[in-house]
């Protein structure tokens, strides 16, 4: 297979992977209003844990890491997602209970910096600054895949996983739970006055979003077979924010569009462009500036994003909450005056 197609499938992988990441951040920020500036930390937890459980015992590998359980795909990925979710519970109890949104954002960003330093410097955890490498590729043994065909198969597999996650997420956001989260986003004082346990719902939202983050991270380490601190600089969180703000907060199609524009085109496509002679890295820096500029332009001229949030109008609002078999019955009940 030509290098061209490898590039294409790498781009496809990141398109779908960032779609998953964007959905996770969107339920926290877009649906619930939680400004989670530590999001990339949850992605990292998912990546590291997926890697650490799928690798063999660390003795003799030349790397240092915890666990090493030879766990096969997709169980390792689930561990990644669940680990991020468990950590989000701890973080929620520290940061989400009393703090106002702006303080919360600062606490979260501090926590992610602390966690970053720990991963970067404390070698026994996830091999410090070198990070994990030689992570076994899933299915490669089973399907007798070469490195190239693995790229294709895994990119497509990630597409399938992202569709499943999309189905799960739409089901949540269209349910009464999603509606209550949006009520909290719009005015948590009103939600509390209506008897909603604001903390409990924010916790639920954090957990769901972090699970998506962990899965997205786990897929990254499987795709790249390595993961280290240079892959998740805390600023990466803002790339995911850019994806959802450019694409459209609280609209899944918008998230896919945002992922295509920001992640696929601006982050990864440019990474494959040949360097400008004499200026290595210049293109990447220009791309980073373009993301920043795009974000500002969007916030200024079209804050709702390219594909804005849809109002959930009544038959839909009803169907919405249900998406299930007896939808027809409901429609009847509603349309009558």
């Amino acid at each position: 297979m030509s290098a061209f197609w490898l590039y294409v499938f790498t781009l496809i992988f990141f398109l779908f992977d960032y779609f998953i990441l964007a959905m996770g951040l969107n339920i926290q920020y877009g649906e619930t209003g939680i400004l989670n500036f530590a999001y990339i930390g949850f992605v990292a937890i998912g990546a590291y844990m997926t890697g650490a459980v799928s690798m063999p015992n660390s003795v003799g590998t030349g790397q240092h890491y915890i666990l090493g359980l030879n766990m096969p795909f997709p169980f390792n990925l689930l561990v990644g997602g669940l680990s991020a979710m468990v950590v989000s519970v701890l973080v929620a109890f520290i940061a989400l209970r009393r703090l106002r949104t702006d303080y919360l954002a600062m606490v979260l960003i501090s926590l992610s910096l602390v966690f970053y330093d720990i991963c970067n410097n404390y070698v026994p955890l996830f091999n410090g600054a070198d990070g994990l490498y030689n992570v076994p590729s899933p299915l490669a043994g089973v399907l007798h895949l070469t490195t190239n065909s693995f790229t294709v198969v895994f990119a497509l597999l990630t597409g399938v996983i992202s569709l499943i996650m999309w189905w799960i997420m739409s089901r949540i956001t269209r349910s009464p739970l999603g509606r209550t989260l949006r009520a909290i986003r719009d005015d948590d004082g009103v939600a509390a006055a209506l008897g909603k346990s604001v903390f409990r719902y924010k916790l639920t939202s954090m957990m769901i979003g972090s699970f998506f983050a962990g899965i997205g991270g786990g897929l990254i380490i499987q795709f790249n077979t390595s993961f280290n601190p240079s892959a998740w600089l805390p600023g990466e969180t803002f790339v995911v924010f850019a994806v959802i703000i450019v694409g459209g907060v609280s609209n899944n199609i918008g998230l896919l569009v945002g992922s295509l524009l920001v992640e696929t085109m601006l982050v990864h496509l440019v990474a494959f462009l040949p360097a400008i002679p004499g200026h290595p890295g210049l293109i990447l820096n220009i791309a980073a500036m373009m993301i920043g500029a795009l974000l500002m332009v969007m916030l200024w001229f079209r804050p709702q994003g390219i594909v804005p949030e849809k109002l959930r109008r009544s038959p839909a609002a009803v169907a919405a909450a249900t998406t299930s078999t007896d939808y027809a019955g409901i429609d009847e009940g509603v349309s009558h005056e």
């Binding site: 349910s175 209550t180 939600a191 346990s197 949030e309 909450a321």
Partner: protein, 268 residues
């Protein structure tokens, strides 16, 4: 000081010696009153008397610095607002706080407590139960919207409503939760006379359904027409309680509050 005019047994809601300061400003300074069950009570007093602050404390939105309060026989001092709401106390806000990104219908659908569809487990494993509850809530919400004249606006974004429509939305959202006690903070402020009339009617209907209402109101015509009982608040203290006609005889009350209004001819 304790409120003699309503016995604790007949009271749905009440407070004793509530205090609350903001950076040295004593907004509430010993407010004490009981709200008679099943009646409409007006909370009146000059601007800045502490009425909204009292409502905020009673509904749990703010913590008092001192004093106690109760809802029916339950001591609710310093409870979280979500807990107080679950006991059956609903409130509206002086400056409307609609859930702007939701439709009018959705604003109401948020209100019912403990919806099966608010639990992840039910969404994925008991969709039938979620659907059934949702159907019932939608039917009830549409009925409430019809009652309050918002039916045609059910699919509008709540933030697009006019000021008066937002007042109606606030009341209907509170009603949707099935309150036992309703606190209304100036439900008729900034509303045209025809709508004032209508809102007055709605409040009387709620009383007929057994809801206890405490409403902050400046318009004494309205108080005269629909309220059974009046609490006068001045400088954070309860100045007097009783029927409006009795309060007119009270010199202290007249000079603190009613005087200016009566002189201005607001009471016909």
């Amino acid at each position: 000081m304790s409120d003699q005019s309503v016995s604790r047994a007949d009271s749905a809601l009440g407070c004793q010696d509530l205090t609350k300061s903001f950076l040295g400003v004593r907004a509430v300074n010993g407010a004490t009153f009981e709200v008679p069950r099943g009646q409409i009570t007006a909370l009146i007093g000059p601007n800045g008397a502490g009425k909204t602050t009292v409502v905020n404390i009673l509904s749990g939105l703010m913590k008092s610095d001192g004093g106690t309060m109760h809802l029916e026989s339950t001591e609710t001092t310093n409870w979280e607002s979500e807990k107080i709401a679950r006991l059956g106390l609903m409130r509206t806000f002086q400056l409307s706080r609609e859930l702007g990104g939701l439709t009018v219908l959705e604003n109401l659908l948020v209100a019912p407590h403990d919806q099966p569809g608010e639990k992840l487990f039910n969404i994925f494993f008991r969709p039938g139960r979620v659907t059934k509850a949702e159907k019932a809530h939608v039917e009830r919400a549409l009925e409430v919207l019809r009652t309050y004249g918002l039916y045609e606006l059910r699919d509008s974004r709540a933030s697009d409503l006019s000021g008066g429509q937002k007042k109606l939305l606030e009341i209907s959202r509170a009603v949707m939760a099935g309150p036992k006690v309703l606190l209304l903070d100036e439900p008729m402020a900034g509303v045209n006379p025809a709508l004032i009339e209508r809102i007055g009617g709605y409040i009387l209907d709620l009383k007929a359904q057994g809801v206890t209402v405490l409403m902050v109101e400046h318009n004494l015509n309205v108080v005269e027409k629909i309220c059974d009982h009046v609490i006068v608040l001045a400088e954070g203290r309860t100045l007097a309680t009783g029927r409006l006609s009795d309060l007119r005889e009270n010199k202290e009350v007249v000079s603190a509050y009613l005087g200016e209004v009566i002189d201005a001819g607001a009471i016909s």
